[in-house]
């Protein structure tokens, strides 16, 4: 039996790469906003500059990297081609980037028109992305996709959650411009639950089924967990959303129990992942292993912090919870994945330009050395610790934390730029050899 995967059908390098390059750029912008806001960013999750920094991270860094990763991973893992990958990537990236900048500006300036522009741009980017993925999932890749049914199911549910997140975000943006009497707090809780636990969490879990055993050389996830987790979590999010809008009807205990369901589900997932990582078949932990461990530990820590904040009725812990979830859990997982995806992508596109293996093409591990990635990981961990400490001591630590966060993101950008520079140099050398008519 022969499986065909036309080279021309693989996304061009620029398709996913443009999304990945957003990560350090918007990470730096988030750090700059935190620096500018100073201690006020850590007082409340409703502070305009905190909201601006949060959305720069969630849209500019997380959504951007995850969209780029999905455009790249779907063909490789599941044999699924995102519809018109090159055109879609260019359009979606432009809309998402513009929408992110507009939304951050809207929070900073409180200009109503900017909220509407942001809602339109981000909404269009997401609808285009979801449509392009669904066309691919329902089309030519169906045969290969059957072999990775758990991953594809999680991706489908994550796309549904993304659509819900942006729809809720658009409603909230409109409600900020026109007072239409909506329950803003309840809708905001729903918006962030669908965004973080739904879109980002489901996609991360779906990808983890594949990449943790593959790249970390662990045992596979238990089949029962991989089959049940995504649908069960999706149901938990639906129930938690119902709870956030129905507090008076359900009573506080029932509401709290329903709101706890996504945290409980992710705690189980994180515990299983940590056990798998503990039993990995390789002795040394690379930067991605460290990032995954930090991410999963942050998930468990975040769940405990959420339970503590509800038990003692202290909303002041909400900002610390946000730091732990956004920077500890999500940015850690995303950075860890970038350190695997980017070197592979650059190596693959160098190799694909040749008819034969060439000694000029460096090994994948030489394209972005693990020593560089590990050094950046420690900077990230330092920034995470300072951001958490700043929640308790905002006057003393807000700006040092913002500075450390900026350094960590700039370092990620430098590592990515060095890998890209190596790629361009080798590509030039290969071009020279080809032009001279010599053998590779």
């Amino acid at each position: 039996m022969r499986r065909d995967l036309a080279l021309d059908a693989s996304p061009a390098l620029a398709a996913p790469l443009r999304f990945f390059l957003n990560a350090p750029a918007f990470g730096l912008l988030a750090a700059a906003l935190l620096w500018y806001a100073g201690p006020s960013a850590f007082y409340s999750r409703w502070s305009p500059l905190t909201l601006a920094a949060t959305h720069v991270l969630t849209l500019g860094v997380f959504a951007s990297v995850m969209m780029g990763a999905l455009i790249q991973i779907l063909p490789v893992v599941a044999g699924v081609q995102v519809a018109s990958a090159r055109t879609s990537a260019t359009g979606i990236h432009a809309l998402l980037t513009a929408g992110t900048v507009a939304l951050a500006s809207a929070f900073v300036t409180s200009e109503p028109e900017l909220f509407l522009i942001a809602a339109l741009a981000c909404g269009a980017a997401v609808l285009w992305f979801v449509a392009a993925c669904l066309i691919g999932l329902n089309g030519t890749g169906a045969r290969a996709a059957r072999a990775v049914v758990d991953i594809v199911r999680a991706i489908r549910l994550a796309l549904a959650a993304l659509t819900g997140t942006v729809a809720l975000g658009a409603v909230l943006a409109v409600s900020l411009v026109h007072s239409i009497g909506l329950p803003v707090v309840g809708l905001t809780d729903m918006h962030l639950t669908w965004g973080l636990a739904g879109w980002i969490g489901l996609l991360t879990a779906g990808v983890a089924y594949q990449v943790i055993p593959m790249f970390q050389v662990t045992e596979p996830y238990p089949r029962s967990l991989a089959r049940v987790f995504a649908p069960a979590l999706f149901a938990a999010i639906v129930l938690a959303s119902f709870a956030s809008l129905s507090l008076r009807v359900l009573g506080s205990v029932t509401s709290l129990a329903l709101a706890a369901l996504p945290f409980a589900a992710y705690t189980v997932f994180a515990a299983v992942t940590l056990v798998l990582l503990h039993g990995r078949k390789r002795a040394s932990a690379d930067a991605t292993t460290l990032y995954w461990r930090t991410s999963m530990a942050s998930v468990i820590g975040g769940s405990m912090l959420w339970a503590a904040s509800r038990a003692i009725g202290s909303p002041s812990l909400d900002v610390a919870l946000g730091v732990l979830v956004l920077v500890g859990a999500i940015q850690s997982a995303i950075s860890g994945m970038l350190y695997k995806i980017i070197p592979f992508l650059l190596w693959y596109h160098l190799q694909a330009a040749l008819e034969m293996r060439s000694p000029l093409v460096p090994k994948v591990k030489a394209i972005l050395p693990d020593t560089h990635a590990r050094a950046q990981y420690w900077a990230h961990l330092c920034a995470l610790a300072l951001l958490l400490a700043a929640c308790g001591l905002p006057h003393a630590l807000a700006r040092p934390a913002a500075l450390a966060f900026g350094v960590s993101n700039a370092w990620l950008g430098i590592n990515m730029a060095q890998a890209l520079r190596l790629y361009l140099r080798v590509k030039r050398e290969l071009g020279s050899v080809r032009a001279s008519g010599a053998q590779f």
Binding site: R2, L5, S10, P75, V77, R282, W347, Q351, A352, E355
Partner: protein
């Protein structure tokens, strides 16, 4: 047409991607025209197939059997 002789068998289970691809591509540089290379791997290496087609190779995939794929690769005639 697939050659009759197997020149090398590469056991690539449990290796971190893309090391299996790197090893196969390195081995193919010296593959004789009248022989094939067999790779045994624990997942279907979809990205490799595009590189093989581009590089002038034919291939045959069997599996998964017992969680493993056997892929035979030879030079296009």
């Amino acid at each position: 047409m697939k050659p009759l002789a197997c020149e090398t068998t590469l056991a690539l289970c449990g290796l971190e991607p893309p090391e299996p691809m790197e090893r196969v591509l390195a081995a193919l540089r010296t593959l004789a025209p009248d022989a094939y290379l067999r790779m045994v791997i624990d997942r279907e290496p979809l990205p490799l197939f595009a590189l093989l087609s581009r590089g002038g190779f034919e291939y045959e995939v069997r599996g998964p059997a017992g969680g493993r794929y056997e892929i035979d690769i030879w030079r296009r005639g």
